[in-house]
Subunit: 701 residues, 2 copies
């Protein structure tokens, strides 16, 4: 779809300039000097030729059939130029010009005009306000960057043009090759979603890395990303996570969630790997670019010094990777050529005086072991070792096996030639054992993601009509906080068990209701103005007899009237007391970017204090729901400690999936909590003891 | 104390060799070539002279008055040589020779002999099995290292000789200067404690960094370290944390603690900063070496690109540092020379086309702001900026203020000259904004540590005689798990409130005891063989009347006999039921290395599942006890959520201090839990509802 952008046969440069230091000069210079094989058409009304190429005075005078235009003219002329491109049949443009929405009100207007011009003309636009685009395989440098990177299979995209510059500057010195480098700028048309999808289909790109500050269309992006990540790794830095202000929220789920959590969920459920810094981004990229994926998580270490070996072992354990246990055969093999003082157990210590050949033999022995999925090779620059030769031996051994090998040669001066050899021979090198191990962890995580079965969303038989009716009723009343009873009727319509309950408007009615339900009972205030009932003394449990009930009624009314004199009190709910069961919370809050975000965790009034919760975006699979459970400490509690029986985990996972379905079916539901959901181990039963639902005001949006 | 080691006037090299490639050759070569100004005496029975110096055939034939010997001869000759040194009056030796305890049984014997030789002769020994020692100011290179580092104020010590080699190799290339580099080897005599104390008094060392695999004398080390860290920062990597196996423990505290936690507590309470990798170690070291300490935690950012600015802002927030708010005056100042599109708020974005001078002026403006304690300067290699000149400007501005400035020039090729200038002018440079911010965080942490008031351990009036009596009684019985009642009497002797309780040996006795105490009551099994009573159904709460009590007695006895047929059942405890109060746990477990480790957290049976606990080594100050509270989520719970009253935090902190005192007073107590300690907000009261104490068997050790 983006062929004209990525692999044009001819490029017009609008605003090409003879003047050094000008962007329009850098672009045409880059195009010519970096060996673009197609035709280049400079457009500049004031010049006859630029760098030996005949110049055109405007878009209209260009020949037909040009694939791509690069625009580097003042912002105010850009929208009309794009319209001209459309008329001329040039289907793609890179707008390098700045002065759009990043530059105040006037710029915002210009960007809207540019958007309209793109939509009307059908010209696909990268930018504006970007560094441009580089496609190394195609020798295309449609940018004003100072460097042209080496050829490679890492595709880079960045929402910050300055970071592109910095990344290129770094890559050139470190011999990191790129397939494409794309500065995405203000994303007026082509955005991260389109690009990741295109790079997913690009056979020249083995791994996609990027820096993003925002994502425009959350759910679409996730679906595209999921397709791509099944084929190749996508690693992103999402910056600006923490600065997003907290939203006001009336549910526990809403107040515990946040923009950062939403991004984490979105990345997790679409298989995107997150990097916390540029260093980490390229650490991981090199591992994926250079090495095969591991088939498991068992890591072996080969070292010529004890200290770094221990550091690697610590890192493996901290990362949650498995420390490979070598077979007896491997031990014998290693013993056959290592000195007696060497350690043949993992971490294999070949000792400080080991020659380069010993590195090769030891790595060979370790990789041949069926119990090893990946290896970390460490080297300290001891007097005896020929570092360059060791690198050659390591590289040769690694090439014999289809298992990832990463290295850390610790030092700088004496290890430089070895590191260079490793890099050139596609053995990823890291300055510390910790960074080497972290890159392996990413590979293992990605391998697990790739092996996940196809996502299947289970659908339950539910009563949507009932829910629609409740929501419409509340909306008619202008009541955004759905009352407890109505919230529960929504849940009941989605297959939840709710406690038996009767509304009472007086002490007498309350006593008679309690008699019907059977003692002991719970009494709860009913008021559209009170969301957190416990906070105002609006919940009384364990009422054992008629006098308890009538006393509690009088007291509750008196106290709440004192505390909340303006609240409308409709009466109380007399409810069956659910004694047995562990208290959990299941909730949902709607992220503005990514939609319904589900929460599971330890229930009760202390949920926000203990914060033992996990999140996932809806719709959710059975496996994902189960993973939400496992992600909490509450899980162990539900499994039963100190001789208690486990609750039915499948039942809990199903409850989460039902809320997932509800929140997908009804976008009108803004947020909700079931807290507590009481899950018993005795009978496989989950009762929604309390619940709150908040809906959106406007019916259509 | 270690003058002879650090600044000798004359050095004998035992095992000096003419043969290149031999350690004995490297040592004498390093001594001569790196400019040692004192006298050098090679000792080798087979050579007349080495590298132009007259050779001595043995120690005995050396002249008198030599300060230091460096030993590089086969291990088996080392102990007798040390004895000879003693007789010759040479008071210090560096034993480079390997083949000691790292090399099997025979080596272990040799090391014991070496230890004895050192003790008997009084010769202070560094090593064995080490790389040696470098003192740059003294031009002393008593090592076989391949490099001599630049002069600087960072002191390095390492338990791994190979890491010393790697660190030197790295430092040379990166122009990092060291005051001293000390390879500590097997620590037969001089250990980390002695060295850190000596380096603390060394005016040439501004910051001490080290790599340690173990610490020999925990409490001594902590006391020494605390004295040193009040004067200068000590940053350590403690490797091998995770591989330590979990110890068997009968208390919650014991099972939640671990060797790693003990090290963390020890480092925290003695002001040692921990680094998680070599990279982090030297990141921090450079910040401390080059820059003044901040006076607060408010950080400002100056950048020429938005993306890295956001990354720095994220890092500042993640680190828990404060994002500085610039004054209106500073905004105006910045506006006066920055273009209109620039951002004058923090992060200050001077834009991509900013010239070098603008960097200087912007940093100047930011550092002049009283609301700024530290600054991070970021640069991406944009076309317009002269990177080297920007570095000069930044350095000049930084020197005007007594506030720390750290930098990150992102890239490699075009930023290299700027980075080099920064490094040489003592502005710490980091490859990423994240690492720059993390180093500032370490400085802020250290500043806070330095400002902590003198530690004062409060002592409470307690009844030690009573506790001694209980412990002795249990020991006589051979009963290591002190029973609940006796555990509580220990607590009562240390000022704790315990619930009223009566022992009962039959259902009738139980009923009568309950009548005395007043209903409702709690019944608990009494058995020396049952530690976790709840697990076997040995606790029954809320017994409301006589028939409840007698029924509960029958049932409890029946069930426990079925489950634990071999347990000796002494009867039950009838106990006052403490209703009100939040359940917390306070516990202690004795770490083999560092002694009593205190734990505070959320109490109840789920303590090991929820793991909301914090640790600290005893003895503990009032402030430290309070910090233990703050370190948990339970703290918020005790503060009161949703309208509840706060419990008396001072009371809880005092309870922790009482347990601290108990565990220091009675080393016989191996571990203990008070769980739950019920703390009420109504009356300032903390009741030890249940407790267990385990003591050590042998009275004297």
């Amino acid at each position: 779809m983006l062929e004209k952008l990525f692999t044009p046969q001819s490029v017009a440069i609008i605003g090409a300039s003879r003047e050094e230091g000008k962007v329009g000069h850098s672009v045409i210079k880059n195009m010519i000097e970096h060996g673009f094989a197609g035709k280049i058409y400079p457009v500049n009304p004031k010049a006859a030729d630029i760098m030996g190429l005949a110049c055109y005075r405007d878009v209209n005078s260009l020949p037909d059939g040009i694939d791509l235009a690069v625009i580097a003219i003042p912002a105010k002329f850009v929208p009309s130029t794009v319209e001209e491109l459309g008329r001329k049949g040039i289907g793609a443009a890179i707008v390098i010009s700045a002065g759009f929405k990043e530059a105040g009100e006037e710029g915002k207007d210009l960007e809207k005009r540019l958007f309209n011009a793109a939509m009307v003309s059908g010209v696909r636009i990268l930018g504006p306000n970007c560094l441009g685009l580089i496609n190394t395989k195609h020798r295309l440098d449609a940018s004003f960057a100072a460097h042209f990177p080496e050829d490679g299979d890492i595709a880079v995209l960045s929402q910050s043009g300055a970071l592109c510059t910095a990344i290129l500057d770094w890559a050139v010195r470190n011999h990191i090759g790129f397939s494409k480098l794309i500065s995405i700028g203000n994303k007026v048309d082509i955005d991260e979603e389109v690009l990741i999808e295109a790079l997913g289909e690009d056979d020249n790109s083995k791994v996609i890395v990027g820096y993003l500050e925002n994502i425009l269309h959350g759910p679409h992006f996730m679906r595209s990303a999921e397709r791509v990540t099944k084929r190749k790794p996508v690693i992103l830095i999402k910056a600006g996570n923490t600065t997003a202000g907290a939203r006001a929220a009336s549910s526990h789920t809403g107040s515990l969630a946040g923009a950062r959590m939403a991004y984490e969920c979105a990345f997790r459920s679409s298989g995107i790997l997150q990097a916390s810094s540029l260093e980490a981004l390229f650490d991981y990229a090199q591992a994926f670019s250079y090495q095969p994926l591991p088939r498991g998580n068992r890591v072996a270490v080969v070292t010529n010094a004890g200290g770094p070996g221990i550091m690697a072992a610590d890192a493996i354990e901290n990362a949650g990777l498995a420390f490979a246990a070598l077979s007896e055969e491997s031990h014998e093999n290693l013993r056959s050529f290592l000195p007696a003082a060497a350690n043949v157990m993992n971490p294999v210590d070949i000792l400080g005086d080991a020659a380069a050949e010993v590195y090769g033999k030891a790595l060979d022995a370790v990789l041949a072991d069926d119990g090893v999925d990946a290896a970390v090779v460490l080297l300290t620059p001891q007097a005896m070792v020929d570092v360059r030769k060791a690198a050659e031996q390591i590289s040769a051994a690694a090439k014999k096996f289809n298992k990832p090998v990463v290295a850390s040669f610790i030092g700088a001066e004496r290890v430089a030639s070895g590191i260079e050899f490793l890099q050139k021979n596609r053995i990823p090198h890291y300055p510390t054992p910790e960074r080497a191990v972290e890159s392996l962890l990413m590979m293992v995580d990605y391998m697990k993601w790739r092996e996940r079965p196809q996502r299947v969303i289970r659908r339950f038989a539910v009563n949507t009509t009932k829910v629609s009716r409740v929501i419409n009723l509340c909306r008619k009343r202008g009541q955004m906080n759905v009352g407890e009873q109505e919230s529960k009727s929504i849940l009941a319509a989605y297959g939840f068990t709710v406690p038996q309950a009767v509304m009472a408007r007086s002490a007498d009615e309350a006593v008679s209701a309690a008699g019907t339900i059977g003692f002991p009972v719970v009494m709860k205030i009913v008021s559209p103005d009170i969301v957190h009932k416990s906070d105002v003394g609006g919940v009384k449990v364990g009422l054992a007899g008629p006098s308890d009930v009538s006393d509690a009624y009088e007291l509750m009314m008196k106290r709440i009237r004192e505390r909340e004199p303006d609240a409308r009190l409709h009466g109380v709910l007399i409810q069956e007391m659910v004694r047995e069961g562990r208290e959990i919370i299941i909730g949902m809050t709607r992220d503005p970017q990514f939609g319904p975000m589900l929460m599971f965790g330890l229930g009760g009034v202390y949920v926000e204090v203990l914060r033992d919760v996990s999140f996932q975006l809806a719709p959710i699979t059975d496996e994902e729901a189960y993973q939400m459970l496992v992600g909490t400490r509450t899980y162990k509690l539900l499994k039963g400690v100190r001789g208690e029986k486990s609750v039915d985990m499948q039942l809990v996972a199903e409850c989460i999936q039902r809320i997932s379905q509800l929140s997908v079916d009804f976008p009108e539901i803004e947020e909700m909590d079931i807290n507590p959901l009481k899950v018993s181990s005795e009978r496989a039963r989950a009762v929604a003891v309390d619940a709150r639902v908040r809906i959106r005001g406007n019916a259509h949006e």
